[in-house]
Each structure stands twice: as structure tokens, then as C-alpha cells.
């Protein structure tokens, strides 16, 4: 039995759309629509999708930055709705931390590095100044930043170094789960690998769980144990990372994979063909009937525009499609 750290059950977030003089609610944007997942201790789950897929909203819900319309989050088996305000503050918040996408804006430019890393400790614990100080130095060493840099301000560092500092801050409270929101997409190619390797090392060392938000499938393959592909607020395919990359079941997953494969000019002549989706993601205000992907799907049939498919189990994967076929990309 897997050791589940955090579970999302049927998470839903609907934003009201209001119209007219009296601001009556005339519709809902379904940003997240019935998303369920589990994150195991020491493992990485990646949410992958394009902008508007709902992955960021899901992560924000886990970080308590966004209030859910319905659904529940279970942390170590306990429903967060049962937590009192102070329990959330002392038992949940410190154990779920985050590293954000943009290292240029995720740090208060007016604070020194040592204060940035110390802040979680100051806010949440009653450690003495000396204890905090030594913990900060320890964390800096962990992420490979020299102790002599503790007194510097963020602008004195490069993007890669800043991201290391952000990781140190996220680790300050010894969290169980770290939400990584596109942790390397703002960095230069030659720096990305450094940070990804660091994150992997830290996971092994501390048995950390990661929830990774990403739009790049290739990044995710290296990082994750399981993967959920999202489209228009729903998970369309979910499963073990290796299985999923070897045997993508959903046409959308295959299209995404095709988009991030290295295909060289002339490959077409050798029968390697890219899948190019037509059209764009429809407006979330009035999602298509039936399968939400049918408007762009090359394999769509009549049933797809009428009946909304359920997330069904196929082998070790779960997939939301009426006609699952096994096929390598």
C-alpha cells in the first residue's frame, strides 16, 4: 500500500461571470472541474497542461491561496475542512511549501538573503536568533550558495542562484510537500539542468514529495513518478510516468508529446510525423458538449461530441476518452 501524503478529491473551482446592471451571475468559468489525484510520500506528481488547463489553480488550492468551490483535500488522511484555522496555520501550512516560477519576482527586493530564508522560521517557530542563523547557513550550504552571500540582496544574484535561494526558503521548515510551479521555465537552458538535479538530490535526501506544475513534458519526464495531463479544467490522462510516456493513451497527450519531441528537418520523409492539433482551446465560458477535447481531436467520432467521457482505468493508467487505443507516439 502506497504511503499517501496528500490527496485531492474531486477538486472544483468555478468563477462566476456576472453581467448587466445588477451584476447577476450568468455563468461560470470552470477553471478546475472535478480533479482528483494523490501524492505519495517521497514521490513527485506532475500536473501538465497548457495555459487555461487549471493546473495553477489546482496548485493554488493546495497552497490555500485559492478557495475551492467544492471537493476536499486530505493531508495525511485528514480532511483540511476539518482543520481549525489555527490547525491549518500550525499543522498544514508549514509542511506544504512552494518554489515559484519567476525567481526575479518571488523575493522581496528589500530583504537580505538571510532574512528571506529565515522568514518562514520567524513567522512559524519560536527559535532563538542563534538557532535561526545556524539553520539559514545550513540551508544555504544545502543549495550550494556560499555563506558569505547571506548578507546580499536578491538583485546581486543571477536567476539560477535566486532559484537556489527560493529552494532553500521552501525547505526551511522541513516541509513534507513542496509545490514547484514551473521551477525552471524562467531560467536559461544551461542553468535548468543544475536546478533540476539539485531538486532531485534534495528529494532523495529528505524524502520530499513534489507537486510539479509544468507545460513542458520533457522536463516532467526527468522529474516525476506520476503524471496528470490536464485539459480545460479536467484531468484527461493520469498514471505512472514511465507507463504514460511509453504508452500515451489520450490523443491530447500524444499531441503534447509530439510537440516536445526533437524532430529534425527531413524526419517527415522517414515517416516520423508530428501531430499538429487544429484550432485552439475553446472558451472556458461555454465548454464544448461531450468530450471537451473533441473540437480539436483527430480521432473524434460522433459519440465524442455528445457524451462526456469518464476517467476510466486502463491498465495502470486512467484516461478520459471514448476510444482508447494503445499506440506509441
Amino acid at each position: 500500500m502506497a504511503d499517501v501524503l496528500l490527496e485531492g478529491r474531486d477538486l472544483t473551482k468555478h468563477y462566476p461571470i456576472s453581467h448587466g446592471l445588477l451584476q447577476r451571475t450568468v455563468g461560470w468559468v470552470r477553471a478546475v472541474d472535478g480533479v482528483s489525484f494523490t501524492i505519495e510520500r517521497g514521490k513527485t506528481l506532475s500536473l501538465v497542461g497548457e495555459s487555461g488547463a487549471g493546473k495553477t489553480t489546482t496548485a493554488k488550492a493546495v497552497l490555500l491561496l485559492e478557495r475551492l468551490t467544492s471537493g476536499s483535500i486530505l493531508f495525511e488522511g485528514k480532511d483540511l475542512q476539518r482543520f481549525s484555522k489555527s490547525q491549518l496555520k500550525t499543522e498544514y501550512r508549514p509542511r506544504v511549501q512552494a518554489v515559484q516560477q519567476n525567481p526575479w519576482s518571488s523575493m522581496n527586493p528589500r530583504m537580505r538573503v538571510r532574512d528571506i530564508i529565515a522568514e518562514p522560521l520567524v513567522v512559524n517557530t519560536r527559535q532563538s536568533k542563534k538557532e535561526v542563523r545556524s539553520r539559514v547557513l545550513e540551508l544555504l550550504a544545502q543549495v550550494g550558495i556560499g555563506a558569505d552571500c547571506a548578507g546580499h540582496y536578491p538583485h546581486e544574484f543571477s536567476g539560477g542562484q535566486r532559484q537556489r535561494i527560493a529552494v532553500a526558503r521552501a525547505l526551511a521548515l522541513n516541509p513534507s510537500l513542496v509545490v514547484l510551479d514551473e521551477p525552471v521555465s524562467a531560467l536559461d537552458v544551461s542553468i535548468r539542468a543544475q536546478i533540476m538535479n539539485l531538486l532531485k538530490d534534495l528529494q532523495a535526501q529528505y524524502n520530499l514529495s513534489y507537486l510539479v506544475i509544468a507545460h513542458n513534458l520533457a522536463t516532467v519526464r526527468y522529474m516525476s513518478h506520476s503524471v496528470a495531463i490536464m485539459y480545460m479544467g479536467q484531468i484527461v490522462e493520469y498514471g505512472d510516468a514511465e507507463e504514460l510516456f511509453e504508452r500515451p493513451l489520450h490523443p491530447y497527450t500524444r499531441a503534447l508529446m509530439s510537440a516536445s519531441l526533437l524532430t529534425l528537418p527531413g524526419d517527415e520523409d522517414q515517416g516520423i510525423k508530428q501531430i499538429i492539433l487544429s484550432g485552439e482551446m475553446p472558451s472556458p465560458l461555454n465548454p464544448p458538449t461531450g468530450c471537451r477535447f473533441h473540437t480539436r481531436c483527430i480521432e473524434a467520432r460522433d459519440v465524442c461530441s455528445k457524451v462526456e467521457p469518464e476517467l476510466i482505468v486502463k491498465g495502470k493508467q486512467r484516461v478520459r476518452c471514448h476510444h482508447v487505443v494503445y499506440r506509441r507516439p
Binding site: E50, S51, S158, G160, D188, V189, S190, I191, R192, A193, Q194, M196, N197, K200, H215, N216, L217, A218, T219, R221, Y222, E242, F245, A255, L256, M257, S258, A259, S260, L261, L262, T263, L264, P265, G266, Q274, I275, I276, L277, S278, E280, M281, R296
Partner: protein, 322 residues
Amino acid sequence: MSKIILQVEGLHTVFFTRQGVVKAVDGVSFYVREGETFGIVGESGCGKTVTGLSILRLLPEPAGRIVGGKIILDGKNLLELSKKEMREYRGSMISMILQDPMTSLNPVYTIGDQIAESVRLHQNLKDDAVEKEVISALRLLKIPAPEMRLHDYPFQMSGGMRQRVVGAIAMSCHPRLLIADEPTTALDATIQAQYIALFKDVQRQTNVAIVFITHDFGVVAQMCHRVGVMYAGKIVETATTRELFKAPRHPYTSALINSVPRLDRKDNRLYSIEGQPPSMTDLPRGCRFFPRCSVARDVCREQEPGEVDIGGEHSVSCWRVS
């Protein structure tokens, strides 16, 4: 082989800043053939965008200046043209697509107006002929229902559609050369794939030569026929795309290619280049990549390597090769 349409030779562009003179582009040479896409790939701050703007002579004034080299487009050195002649070249002979579709269209004019403006300027046409040209430009970029979209404002369109409009503006006067500066970076993965396929198609139809500026090796692989890899203001390696991926000769190129996570194989550990790119105001004395190079020798510290042609349209600037 097709005719060479653009030849850049020893281009030097500098910026005068309060911190001192920055040699943003420091002796860059390359050529592009008709119907060919030449990629310039590199990390942020390596001078790839400045190279693109230099070709159009649209550097930010007065800080940026071209201080040396030749930019020969179809037999004419662009650096010798008068301001007025250069302006007539822009939009008609050379065009450019910018990175961010959300900000590169004027918010207060309809997209029809914005394309028509260009058509009217460079082609002597009557109003209904202008509209025809506008619609055919929108068609070329496969914008659905072009007659209707004509009257839309940019904010009424999605990012992908806006970038198509930018492409339509660029192609509206049938340019010989198109400079595309990270045109897909701001787009989602599936939209990016659409856009690249679209542009390959546009190129087949129009035989336009493209200089494609990007930081993304995946995009390079899909789009470009030949590639120049830029590092700290210099092109360190030029080759056909196949050759570059198969047999990179510069340590920076191979390190970059290796450090890109791959979808088609499982890596347990990513190859990483240690350190940071050098500051452009404080460049190392010898080879610019020397401080981060894993195979550097003594000579690399002291002297800059020259460009060596190793045959088959492949040239490298590295002491290991010469």
C-alpha cells in the same frame, strides 16, 4: 542550391551605457539562402536579438550603434543605404516578427487597419485591391474567416491568433527576408507546433528566407535548415541542423544539447554546464566559454580561437578543432 539572399559579414554592434561600452554583437558572420531558415540559437543576453535588430537597422537610439561589418541583402549593403532607402526596404524587402503577440499589436486600431497600413505604404494599390491583399495575407497565415476578423481589435483575439496577425503583417508585402525573434516562445506547446508548421508552409509558398532567433533547441530542430550557436556576442558554431545535433564540435554546443531534457529517453541525471554566462561588460580574455569549458587547455585562457571551416557548411571557433 538556391541563391544566397542575405550575407552578414563581421557584424559589430555596441551599446553605450553608463557602465561602459557593451560589445553586444562582436564579429558575427552568416548567410541565408532563399527558401531557407537559418536559426540563431543562444541563451539570454548572448546578442541574438541585437543581431536581428541590426539587420533591420532598428537598434534603440542613441545607445545602440553598428560599428563594423557588412549586411548584404540581395547584393546591396544595408549599412550604406540612406535612412529613407532603409525605411523603404523595411516591411517590403525585410520584415520581422516579435516575441510577444500580446504587446506587438497596436491596441487602438483594428487588425485590418494595421495590415492595410503596410500594404498601402509599399504597394501602389486602390482601396479594394488593398483589402484583397489584406485578406490574402490573413489567408496565407490561415486565419479563419478573414473577412470577419478584419474588423476585430487585437484584444478580441487569442495569443496564437494575434501572432498569426503579426505574421500576416510581416508577409503582407511579400518580403524576401523574414527575421523571427522567438515568435513561438510566448505560445502554448500545441499552438507553438501549429505556428511552426504554418510557417514552414508559408515558406514553401513564398520561398522567403528566414532568420529564426530562439533559445529552444526543440524549435530549432523542427524549423531550421542550418543553425548558428551564439555565445557571449559571437557565433561559436555553424552547421546544418542534422549535423549539429549528430556531431556538435564546439563544447558549448554539445553541452547545451546534452543538458536539454529529452522526452524520448529517461535520464537519471541531467548533464549540466556549471557556472554562469559571462557578464558582457567584463568578458574573459581568451575564449569566452573557457571558464565553463570542461575540455579547456592553456591556450584557451590566453587567445581567442578563430573560426575554422571543417567542410560541409560546418564551421567552429574552438582551439580543439583547429
